[in-house]
Amino acid sequence: MNEKSGKSFRKMQYIRECQSLDELIEQLSFHMGNTQDLVTVKVQFADKESVIIYLESTTDTNQLEKTFEWLTNVYWASDEPTETLRIAQVERGQTLDDTAKKILLGDTYLFSMEQGSWITYKIGSPLVLQRAIQEPKNEQIVRGAHAGFNENIITNLYQVRSRLKSPHLVIRYFTIGELSQTKCALLYLDHVANPMIIEEITMRLQSINTDVSFSIGTIEEYIEDDNFSPFPQLLNTERPDRVVGNLAEGRFALLLDGSPTSLIAPVNFFAFYQSPDDYNGRFMVGTFYRLLRIASFLIALLLPAIYIAIISFHFEIIPQDITLPTKRAIEDIPYPPLFEALLLELTIELIREAGIRLPNPIGQTIGIVGGLVIGDAVVNAGFISNIMIIVVALTAISSFVVPSVEMNTTVRILRFPFMILASLFGFFGVAIGLIILTIHLIRLESMCTPYLSPFAPFHLTAVKDMFLRFPAWNQTQRPADAMPINKKRHGKNRWWKHERKK
């Protein structure tokens, strides 16, 4: 830059304004903030003084080397400029700003001056570094596909497309983030998904005004219906098969570059209690585990509250034969039941929070130390009754049954208000809490569709799949909660069964 001294620098707008290679390099460098990973190599190309410009941090140099060599050879052989998938000749009117943006995306530019005008080639050689396709750690299943999304949006789209080879699958791109310029893809089936919902989400996506969007969790808050609800209104998943299943039901999915998670909406409450495993096993087993998960929701939410209500208000309800053992267990506990429960619940939350980010072996150790040692010691010390330990442990296990991480945290937080209500008003308080919760769930909407769908409003056909799991051939209709424009899922199956009887 020393040679520049003495000359005044003037910002230019178009490439054609530059008079020399050096000037071009200087201008481009300026447009990219004089970044030092900008590489400029002066070469001879087609007998002309040329320069190759790229960012070393976003360019696959091996690929570039090969492509450039090939380009040179072709030029020597045919004397004609070529265009291929990777190589493109750029129009003359391009601005420096555009060029800089393209370079940032990983393109390489080859400039050469010919008779006072610029000949520009763009060589696409973006550096793609990505994780292999692995099973997502927080959504492991026993049977079925073990593929998961990774951080590359193209790979993710490939995974969806390859499972849904239909012309009806529509992918629409949005760019989110002033600074990050992140690519976001909206996927839906145009003959199933309700156009009103698609319009709604398009509007919401376009209205996002943010600087960086590094993960899909950040855009969730911009587009969900109610921020102040403890319940998640968009389903997170890292599994392409789950995305495909939901797309086929008339929902849409959002993918964000750099984020292995996909957002699915509109969803209802019960969708968070489904697991792809349900569909891979026998339907009775699937139904049983679904009901078990719903039960786990109630246990995780209410068990400590009910226990507190019983021992501090309604001990009459304890059956004859276990009244005395219960009384014996809690006889010498110094704390009120609420405090006792809070103490233990917070301990468990601490253990969980401590273990979650530690490397696996240490995490396990913490779990064991926390669970066994503290639990045992606290009972022996007489601070907490052993029944409370049972209750809290059961609650903790139940709260981890939920297949979805967001719902899991929701349930864990929600049980504290219930415990307080129970300790103040017994069953009455718990019932009031439940009514308010139910009303909230009824009023809540996910993309303008009712959140508690197969129950309120009641749809019998949807209960078959959302709450229970009927055999696949029986579910001829798509669930109504996503309001699909095409309700029919498939025709008659297993007709051979009746044929054979004749």
């Binding site: 021992i311 501090s312 001990f315 009459e316 009384k327 006889e331």
Partner: protein, 364 residues
């Protein structure tokens, strides 16, 4: 918003007001006995189980008061915790109280929303305080002993399950008289014993009770039998060994019908029973003749027992079978609430028994 945040700890600290009723702060009474004293006041005896599992003896309190509720509150003065009847398993009525009108005493238990109505009610031949303070040899602690005693007697159909709710319903019904399990104390065994059913008339104990054998028949008449209904009778004399003279049967299924007839006004009791022989020393029961003999024997014996019970109840004007209830329902013209017990004493009640031998156990 911030202002309200301060309320949160206040709410948590406040918890424990108002209706809180901590399990650890109550003394659960499992068995209670009631007696009426000569001056009309009552004595209440409460047995509470020990909290420490290693301790054998129960907490026993005998407190006097003007009413049962009064006595119950007087108890609180003597214990470290709050006395609570919510888990009451058995209530024993002393004989002096049984002789007086019973409902006014039970009312306090019936009315209190905290109590449950499943507690078994029984009476005793002495004062309840005496029974409850007698030494009892039992695996269970004494506070749970009496309800267990009644429960096992129900199993063999000696007594029906008379809960507080049941007793109150019967006491309200002018067409039925109350009957309560009758508990006596056996000094040599150091145990209490259910020795039958005490008969009431107009809410008052008649000083007559049915013994165990009669009680079983009574339960059959009332269609209140449990799974095990066994009767044993002497069928022959002089066989050796002595045990061969006796026969035991199980009543597998029985149904009693009580019909009210007019002209003249009478009641007809029909008992149909399916029985199997459970114990008979001499065996050899294959022949039809022998079985018919048995059938005739049991029909005769059962009819004799039934008539005996009817005679007793009519004598003491205790309409325990609910003939008045049926009269009111089917022949309201004959129903007179005021005079019913006189009518009952003098009315004609006939009985008919038909027995079917359906088995002889697994040997012939």
């Amino acid at each position: 918003m911030k202002k309200y945040l301060y309320l949160l700890p206040a709410i948590i600290l406040l918890s424990g007001c108002w209706d809180q009723n901590l399990l650890k702060d109550v003394q659960l009474v499992y068995t209670v006995g009631w007696d009426q004293n000569e001056d009309g006041s009552v004595t209440s005896t409460a047995l509470a189980p020990p909290i420490d599992q290693t301790v054998e003896h129960v907490n026993r309190l005998t407190i006097e008061g003007n009413t049962l509720r009064d006595a119950r509150y007087n108890m609180d003065v003597y214990v470290a915790e709050h006395i609570d009847f919510a888990k009451l398993q058995a209530g024993i009525v002393g004989i002096d109280m049984a002789r007086d009108k019973l409902y006014p005493f039970l009312d306090v238990l019936y009315r209190n929303p905290k109590n449950h109505l499943n507690a078994r009610i029984a009476m005793t031949n002495t004062s309840a305080a005496e029974l409850l303070s007698s030494k009892i040899d039992s695996q269970r602690n004494q506070s749970e002993y009496f309800s267990g005693l009644l429960e096992s007697s129900e199993l063999t159909s000696v007594v029906p399950n008379i809960s507080l709710q049941r007793a109150c319903t019967i006491l309200f019904d002018p067409g039925t008289d109350l009957y309560l399990p009758y508990i006596t104390y056996e000094k040599d065994m150091l145990r209490a014993k259910v020795s039958g059913i005490g008969l009431f008339s107009k809410q008052k104990y008649t000083d007559v009770y049915l013994n165990e054998d009669q009680s079983v028949i009574f339960n059959i008449l009332n269609n209140e039998t449990s799974t095990i209904v066994t009767l044993t009778k002497r069928i022959t004399d002089g066989k050796e060994p002595e045990v061969s003279n006796w026969v035991s049967v199980n009543i597998e299924k029985s149904k009693t019908d009580i019909k009210i007839k007019e002209n003249p006004f009478r009641a007809e009791i029909t008992l149909k029973a399916d029985i199997t022989i459970s114990e008979y020393g001499p065996d050899h029961l294959q022949s039809e003749k022998k079985l018919n003999e048995f059938k005739a024997f049991w029909e005769k014996e059962l009819k004799k027992d039934i008539d005996e019970i009817l005679e007793i109840t009519q004598e003491v004007e205790s309409d325990v079978l609910g003939i008045g209830k049926r009269t009111a329902a089917f022949k309201p013209a004959y129903w007179d609430e005021e005079r019913w017990h006189d009518i009952y004493r003098d009315m004609e009640i006939t009985s008919k028994v038909s027995v079917k031998m359906i088995g002889t156990g697994i040997i012939d």
